[in-house]
Amino acid sequence: MLSRRVIPCLDVKDGRVVKGVRFEGLADAGDPVELARRYDAEGADELCFLDVTASSDRRKTLVRLVAEVARELFIPFTVGGGIRSLDDMRALLEAGADKVSVGTAALRDPALIARAANEFGSQFLVVSLDVGRAPDGSRRLTTHGGRETTDVLAVDFARQMADAGAGEILLNDMERDGTKDGFGVGLLREISTAVDIPIIASGGAGRVEDFVAAVRDGGADAVLAASVFHYGTLRISEVKQAMAAAGIPVRRPLGVSR
């Protein structure tokens, strides 16, 4: 059986790991390669690096980081943040990234995903949806870290991206992001029943039960979290134990104690 994945996310700025609540109040802490190795040893199934650098040399810094991580890490990792073009993607692929996560650029130019799928294959493409809630209660995409709303329905865009050749959907529930109140199970359910490609749940992880609910009730194929792992509130092994106890298939890595 295909295991449900647990994916720690590392927010990276200027080549260093940081973590902010709702993308604000960032504090520098941690060497990405060290953290990647630690998460791998703890049984992470995959890693995600989200670049939040704003400076003009961000791309160079990120490519260097990816190359360092790729030399040390032998589980898959995804890189996201500000990826706009096929050239951006190619540079990260060549540096050793297994996948890229594309958000705003896919919303601005949905055809980018079809071109990228044709060029690099679907396995390389995660499309990231930052989903807010419109005044009428509908779930619609946002941009700029949730500050600006659009009129694009999340479920429509997820279908469009799956058809265009996205390999996976990274579903960020902006209502939950940073709250530790649990993943948005309703939104997960809505998207995971609408598309056949895997869904990665993101936003709201607080307790081990949240991970179980995202998979069992929301239909998530993978669960992503940053601060609960980064600040040591939860260990990956205890999350996996809880998932296994709930009957969810999880990977038991070779050589990792449990």
């Binding site: 295991s3 994945r5 056949d196 070779l254």
Partner: protein
Amino acid sequence: MIAIVDYGAGNVESVRRAIAHVGSTAVLTDDPSELARAELLVFPGQGHFAQAVARLHERGLAEVLRAHIDAGKPFVGVCLGLQLLFDRSEEAPGVAGLGIFPGEVRRFAPRDAHGERVKIPQIGWNAVHCARAGTVLDAVPDASSFYFVHSYHVVPDDPGVVAGTAEHGGRFVAAVARDNVFAAQFHPEKSGAAGLALWTAILGPRWWGRPC
């Protein structure tokens, strides 16, 4: 010499890094004469079946791979590098594969036997069950998890070549082995400790009867 066939089909560099991590050196090349000199050939691949076949033929590599296998030299296929060893694929009707293994490559069915939806592509970790003893999979415990990314899987005519299986909407072939050829649908270079253990075994003296 260990050579990795670099024919423009996906992230082959990660294979080189994994081999380096377990202490061997491999060259990435699409030069037929260099590939012909290799002791061990690693044949990775991601992407579309038809494009990969076209790229192999453009570079004159199909014959090189066949000659290597016919000479009894160790050969390791990974992912699309497994699928390309078969006769044909549903991904590219009418396009001939290398035909090293009789059989075809099929897309996962969208529903399983109970009518449950099957996620395609399969992306993630799945437990690989050894189908028989005596293959390089002996190097890892039975049911070790490996990382898969694929929408198609191989269906050999001869079930005797199956080395390992896994479950995704039903049982599918995760690895094949015959004589000097081992090929896996999963990515040992992305499968953490289990994958590195497999590379160590692949590159070690025991499996092929001599060091590579």
